[in-house]
Amino acid sequence: MYTEAVMDHFRNPRNVGSMENADGVGQVGNPKCGDIMKIYLKINDETIEDVKFETFGCGSAIASSSMATELIKGKSINEAVELTNKAVVEALGGLPPVKVHCSVLAEQAVKSALFDYAQKTGKVIKGLENYEPIDDDDIHCH
C-alpha cells in the first residue's frame, strides 16, 4: 500500500515535536477529516534554520509532514514557499490516490507557517501576497 519511503518517514519521522518561541507557526486540517498538521519554523536571515511538526493523522499524513519538513529545512523562505504537494509526493516515491490530500495538507501547513511569519514580521513573501488561511468550516474532507 505505501512505498518504502513513506513507511520509513512514518516509522522514523524527522523533526517531530513542538518549538518554543517559533518565528512562524501554521496549523491546517481538522479532526473531522482525520488529519491536522502543525508546523513550527525557526527563521534566521530569511533561512529556515529549524523546523518541527506535530501531526494527528494517518500514516501518509505523518510521512508527508516529515518529508515536507526535510524538504524545507535549511532552505530560504522563498524556496520554501515554492514547496508543492507534488514535490512531497515525488520525494515519498508516490502516495495512494486517496492519500494525496495528505501531501496537499503538508504544503498548506508550510505556507501557513510562512504566512504567520510574514504577518508577525511584516514581511512580504513572494507567492503569499494573496494567501488566505483556510476556514475549517468550508472544508470538505478530501
Binding site: 505505501y2 479532526p31 473531522k32 482525520g34 491536522i36 501531526t55 494527528f56 500514516g59 486517496v98 478530501h142
Partner: protein
C-alpha cells in the same frame, strides 16, 4: 518469522483444519455436479449438500427446506431486501425499516431500492449501539413490508434484543430479516423462538471458507430470486453449487455447535481481560459498544487525540492485525457510520481500533497487545498537535 497476533476475526477467520480436510474430498474426488442425479458422482455431491443443509438448519432451529446457500453474507442481505421488495413491487407495500448501524450490504441495498420507490426508515441507536423498541414500533406503517436489523454489530459488537424485535414484527405482521453474519457461533440463534423470517449467514466469520453463506427463509415467505437460472436450491438460487465451500461451511457450523458454551465463555473472559487491560493502562479511551450485550470477541476502543490508521500500521510492525472500523472501510477515509451513529464526534471516531479475538488468542497475547498499544498510543500522542478535548473541538 516472529509471532503473529491475528486479532481481526470479525473481518475473517483462519479456515479450520477440520474444515479444510472435509472440503478436500470435493475437489478431485467427489467433483460431480449435484444436479446430475443420474450418475454416482452427481449423487455424492447432492448428498453432501443435503447433509450440509441439515447441519446449518439444526444450528438455527430451522427446517432443512428453509436453508438456501449463497455466495456469502452480502448476497444474502441483498437477496433478503431486494427479494422481498421486488416481490411486493406494485403491491402497495414499499417501506423498509432498518437501523443506522447495519452493514453496508444492507444500507447500500436500501439506498439502491429507493430508485424503485422503496422508502426506508433508519432507526437510531443509543451510545451503546442499542436500538429503541418504542421507536421501532412507531416506525411501522401499513406500507411496511420488512424490518431488517442485525443480530450483532460487526464493528462495536452490540447485540440487539432480537427476540423482542421478532415479537414486535410478528404482532404487526411485518417480515423480519436478521443479518446474523457476526452473531453465528457467538450468540444462540433460534429462528422459531426469535420469530425471524429471513436470516443472513456467512461461513468465513466462523472458521469456514470465504465466498459462501446461507439464507434462512421461513416457509411461505414471498421473495423474488436474486439469481435466476437453473433449478438449484429448489429453484430459488441458481448457479452450480460451490459444493466444496458448502461442505466447509457446514463443517465450521458443526464445530461451532459442538463446544458452543465453552467457546463463548472462554472468549468472553479473555475479552473482559482485554477491555480491563486497555482501560487500566491507557488514559483517555472510550469503550465503543455495549458493556455487556456485546459479542464475546469484540474489543473496540477510541483512543483520543490519535488517528486509527497510524495505530494499525504500527501494530502491523509488531505482527498484530486489527482493524479500524469494519474491514470493508479500512483504507477508506470517512469515519465509521456505526461509531458516528453512537454519537462519537468525527475526531474521536477516527481514533478507534477494533480487536476481535479468536480461538487461538491467549492471555499472554492480550497482555502483549495491551502493552504494545500503550506504547503506540503514547508515541502518537507525543506527535499529535491535539493534546486535550479543547484542541479537538477548537477550530
Amino acid at each position: 518469522m516472529s509471532k503473529k497476533f491475528y486479532l481481526d476475526n470479525a473481518a475473517t477467520t483462519r479456515v479450520k483444519k477440520e474444515v479444510i480436510d472435509e472440503m478436500l474430498k470435493y475437489f478431485d474426488e467427489k467433483y460431480g455436479n449435484p444436479s446430475s442425479q443420474l450418475y454416482e458422482l452427481g449423487r455424492r455431491s447432492k448428498e453432501a449438500i443435503d447433509n450440509a443443509r441439515k447441519i446449518v438448519a439444526d444450528f438455527i432451529n430451522a427446517d432443512e427446506k428453509e436453508i438456501y446457500f449463497t455466495a456469502g453474507g452480502s448476497e444474502s442481505d441483498n437477496w433478503a431486501l431486494k427479494g422481498v421488495a421486488f416481490a411486493n413491487f406494485n403491491k402497495g407495500k414499499n417501506h423498509i425499516i432498518t437501523t443506522k448501524i447495519e452493514h453496508h450490504a444492507v444500507l447500500h441495498t436500501c439506498e439502491y431500492l429507493e430508485k424503485f420507490g422503496v422508502k426506508t426508515t433508519y432507526l437510531d441507536v443509543d451510545k451503546y449501539g442499542m436500538i429503541d423498541l418504542e421507536q421501532l414500533k412507531e416506525a411501522i406503517t401499513p406500507e411496511t413490508m420488512l424490518i431488517s436489523i442485525m443480530f450483532a454489530n460487526n464493528e462495536i459488537g452490540t447485540i440487539q434484543p432480537i427476540e423482542q424485535i421478532g415479537e414486535i414484527a410478528k404482532e404487526h405482521g411485518v417480515l423480519l430479516h436478521v443479518d446474523a453474519v457476526q452473531a453465528m457461533g457467538a450468540v444462540k440463534i433460534d429462528v422459531k423462538k426469535q420469530h425471524i423470517d429471513l436470516l443472513s449467514m456467512s461461513a468465513h466469520k466462523l472458521g469456514g471458507p470465504k465466498g459462501i453463506g446461507g439464507m434462512f427463509i421461513r416457509k411461505g415467505v414471498k421473495i423474488d430470486n436474486l439469481i435466476h437460472g437453473g433449478g438449484q436450491e429448489r429453484g430459488k438460487r441458481a448457479g452450480t453449487e460451490g459444493v466444496q465451500n458448502i461442505v466447509g461451511f457446514a463443517k465450521a457450523v458443526e464445530l461451532a455447535s459442538k463446544d458452543f458454551d465453552a467457546h463463548v465463555k472462554k472468549l468472553t473472559s479473555l475479552r473482559n481481560k482485554f477491555i480491563e487491560g486497555i482501560k487500566n493502562n491507557i488514559p483517555d479511551v472510550i469503550l465503543n459498544g455495549h458493556p455487556t450485550m456485546r459479542l464475546p470477541n469484540n474489543v473496540n476502543f477510541s483512543y483520543k487525540y490519535v488517528e486509527g490508521e497510524s495505530i494499525l500500521l504500527l501494530l502491523d510492525m509488531d505482527g498484530i492485525s486489527a482493524s479500524s472500523g469494519s474491514a470493508c472501510t479500512s483504507g477508506s477515509l470517512d469515519p465509521s457510520h456505526v461509531l458516528l451513529a453512537t454519537g462519537l464526534d468525527h475526531g474521536t471516531a477516527h481514533g478507534s481500533i477494533r480487536f476481535t479475538i479468536g480461538e487461538e488468542t491467549t492471555e499472554e497475547d492480550i497482555s502483549f497487545v495491551v502493552q504494545t498499544m500503550k506504547g503506540i498510543v503514547e508515541r502518537l500522542r507525543m506527535m499529535s498537535p491535539i493534546k486535550n478535548d479543547e484542541d479537538l473541538y477548537k477550530k
